[in-house]
């Protein structure tokens, strides 16, 4: 493990993803990626009596599935790094209460999964832990009541608004070689181009993603084309367009086929979610199912994942603050078994 350039950590055969699991809600299950989830929960409440408890249950189930697939027990988990969008990350904290594993709460808003994977990889590569479990979750109903309006209020959303995904994803990182290696990770900087519209998160976050992408490529001394796909978390349809425009200012090439946004692809047009999905669970769920599957199937050799999060709150918005954002990157590479 080495630091390279300004803010990138390079792993040399030290951190691999050995197992992953994702669980999503009914709406996400009905979307184009529905088949890639390990489980689709039909009941929004997951048999509990509140949305917050439901999200916590979602986290637990995803973690159980992830370690089950690897064939290890809870006691074998060296450290759990998890976070969510609820204030004081209660979904993760309450799940960790029931799991009883060593726990580090993470918060990077919607970039939490990538932040957790990066931190987890450092733990594993440094020998601080024999394995690390990275997890992130979001639930439409918990996010809606915290950040926006009550569910039953009859309001309209603008075209740039996004839909918080009900989903959770977990990845187990180990030192032992598997098909998928975490080869590098880049730490983000908080970037703010003074966007204030809380119903256009894609616009607020696109500059942060651009900054981390440029930083990563500079540090690694590599080009955009060295990746099969560059996967962003939840910029949404319009945020992704803005990102392409920003990237064009430095790299003058056609990037239409190169970028893939999890949020923009999580739902179909008919589902009428406007600009696409968002939330911690968006990239977590899509990565832990769909993307990892494609790497395993050899469809992709090398991908760069860019999670992005808005570092704002309801209070900061009400006080007239703009929306500062952050983005973390990790690169995943498929390696052939010897």
């Amino acid at each position: 493990m080495n630091r390279r350039g300004d803010r990138t950590v390079v792993f040399e055969n030290e951190a691999y993803i050995s197992s992953s699991a994702s669980i999503a809600g009914k709406k996400e299950g009905d979307g184009p990626l529905g088949n890639s989830f390990d489980e689709i929960v039909k009941d929004d409440l997951l048999g509990t009596e509140s949305w917050e408890k439901a999200e916590s249950e979602l986290v637990k189930r995803t973690i159980y599935r992830c370690i089950e697939k690897r064939g290890i027990e809870l006691e074998d988990v060296g450290v759990l790094l998890a976070g969510d969008l609820n204030a004081q990350i209660i979904s993760s904290g309450f799940a960790a209460r029931d799991l009883g594993v060593p726990f580090l709460g993470m918060y990077g808003a919607c970039s939490t999964m990538i932040e957790s994977l990066l931190t987890g990889a450092v733990f594993v590569a440094s020998g601080a832990s024999q394995n690390a479990l990275a997890c992130a979750s979001s639930h439409f109903c918990t996010a809606e009541r915290q950040f926006r309006t009550p569910l039953e209020l009859g309001t309209q959303r603008p075209p740039s608004a996004q839909w918080t995904a009900t989903a959770a994803g977990a990845c187990l990182i180990e030192h032992e070689k598997t098909e998928i290696e975490i080869t590098s990770g880049t730490i983000g900087r908080v970037i703010d181009l003074k966007i204030k519209d809380a119903s256009h998160m894609g616009a607020a976050m696109a500059p942060a993603v651009t900054d981390t992408l440029f930083g990563h490529l500079d540090d690694m001394k590599t080009e955009l084309s060295s990746y099969d796909k560059i996967i962003t978390g939840d910029l949404g349809i319009y945020g992704l367009d803005i990102l392409k425009e920003l990237v064009k200012r430095k790299y003058k090439m056609n990037t239409d086929e190169l970028f893939y946004d999890c949020g923009a692809n999580l739902y179909s047009k008919q589902q009428d979610v406007h600009a696409g999905g968002s939330g911690c669970g968006c990239i977590a769920g899509v990565l832990s199912g769909y993307i990892i599957d494609l790497l395993r199937k050899n469809e992709y050799q090398k991908v760069l994942l860019l999670g992005s999060g808005a570092m704002m709150s309801v209070t900061s918005s009400l006080q007239g603050e703009s929306i500062p954002s952050i983005s973390y990157a990790i690169s995943l590479e498929r390696c052939e078994n010897d």
Binding site: G154, A203, G215, Y238
Partner: protein
């Protein structure tokens, strides 16, 4: 920072322009038409509730109260049944502005926050949406009443 990518970034002003270019606006004409016909239908229903009230025998003074009560009842009922938010998604201001929309804005938080307790949930959050309307509506009526009083009894 050793590498400087800031030079590739647009200024805040330029960025605002890029965002505006890339983001579609709400469909205004469609929105107006939908708001107009749904709002109109709610008003027509309100009119016939008035007719019904007259037929029952409410006095002219009590009729508006009967009318408002019936509309609030149905606004609340439709919110509880999970229908009013769908009407609102379609009609926008057409279903927010009539009194049924007010009922919706009070009932929705009541349903949402009931899990936080009757007092600390429902009690505290009931007027989170409608609160400003009440605050400024009541304040305006006090000021109006004062001016009226001055006009009638002082000058």
């Amino acid at each position: 920072m050793k590498t400087d990518n800031i030079r590739f970034f647009p200024s805040e002003k330029e960025y605002k322009k890029i965002v505006e270019e890339k983001t579609p606006n709400s469909k205004k004409v469609q929105g107006f038409l939908r708001a107009f016909w749904v709002g109109g239908v709610i008003c027509v229903i309100g009119y016939f509730v008035g007719v019904l009230g007259e037929w029952i025998g409410f006095s002219e003074k009590n009729l508006p109260m009967f009318n408002a009560s019936v509309l609030v009842y149905f606004g609340t009922l439709l919110t509880g049944l999970g229908i009013y938010d769908r009407i609102g998604k379609y009609a926008g201001a057409g279903s927010i502005v009539p009194i049924t929309g007010f009922a919706n804005s009070v009932c929705a938080p009541a349903m949402e926050f009931r899990r936080e307790g009757v007092v600390t949930g429902i009690g505290a959050k009931l007027f989170t949406i409608a609160g400003p309307v009440l605050t400024f509506g009541i304040s305006a009526s006090v000021i109006y009443g004062f001016i009226y009083w001055l006009k009638e009894y002082v000058f």
